[in-house]
Amino acid sequence: MTDGRLVLSAPAVPEVLEVVHTMLAQLWARADTWDQRDRTRFELAVIEVLGNVVEHAYAHDTESGRRFDITLVADDEHVVASLADNGLPVALDLSGVALPEDELAESGRGLALATAALDDLRYERVEGRNHWTLECRRGSAG
C-alpha cells in the first residue's frame, strides 16, 4: 500500500478512545501487511498518549470544550500518528520517562509504555497547542 491517511477531530473525552480504536482498525485494513506485534505497539502507544491527553492535560483545565485532532498515516515502512490538542502545556521530559520502580504500582506506566513501544515519540508546544508525533518502523523492536 502506498497511502492511507485517516483524520479525526473530536472532543477530548474518554469515550472517544473507542473511535480511535476503530480508526486504527481501518488503518490496518488498508495497511494489511503489518504484523501483529507492530500493530499492537503502535495502537498501544496511540491510546496511551491520547489517554494522557484526555486524563492529565485536562485535569487542571477549567475551560470546557477541549478538543484534539489526530492523523494516522501508514506507508510500507512507517506508521505515524500526529496528535494535537488545545489543552494546557504539558511539563514533560520524555527522555526521563521510566516505568515505576514499584512493580506493583497501579499507575504511572502510560508514557513509559508508549516510549518503549515506539521508535520515536516527540512532543512540542506550538502556537498554544500540544503536538505529539508517534512513529513505529516496521519490524523494529520498539
Partner: protein, 111 residues
Amino acid sequence: MIEIDVHTRDDGIGVVVPRGRLNMVAARQLKEVLADLVGSGTSRIVVDMAETTFLDSSGLGALIGGLKSARQAGGDLRIARPVPAVTTVFELTNLDRVLRARDDVETAFDD
C-alpha cells in the same frame, strides 16, 4: 466497548472474563468488578483474557489493583490465556513475571 462476565466456581474461585478492549474506560469497570469480588469474600480470582483484545496501562493498573487486594485478603489474582496483543503489553512493562500467564483457566490455581 467491553463486557465483563463474572462467576464464582464451586471451588470458590472467581472467574472474570473481560470481552473486548481493556482501555481507560473499561479499566474502571474492571477495577469495580475485582473490588466487589474481593469485598464479597472471593480472594482467589482468575482473569480469563482469551477474549480481551487490547490492554493498556490503565487496564494493567486495574489488574494490579485487583492482585494487591486479593493478596491482602489472603488470596491471589492470576491471568489465563492472554492473546498475543496482550502478552506484548505484559512483556513491554516487565509485568510478565508478576502476572505470569497461565495456559488454562481451570488449572490456574493448581500451583
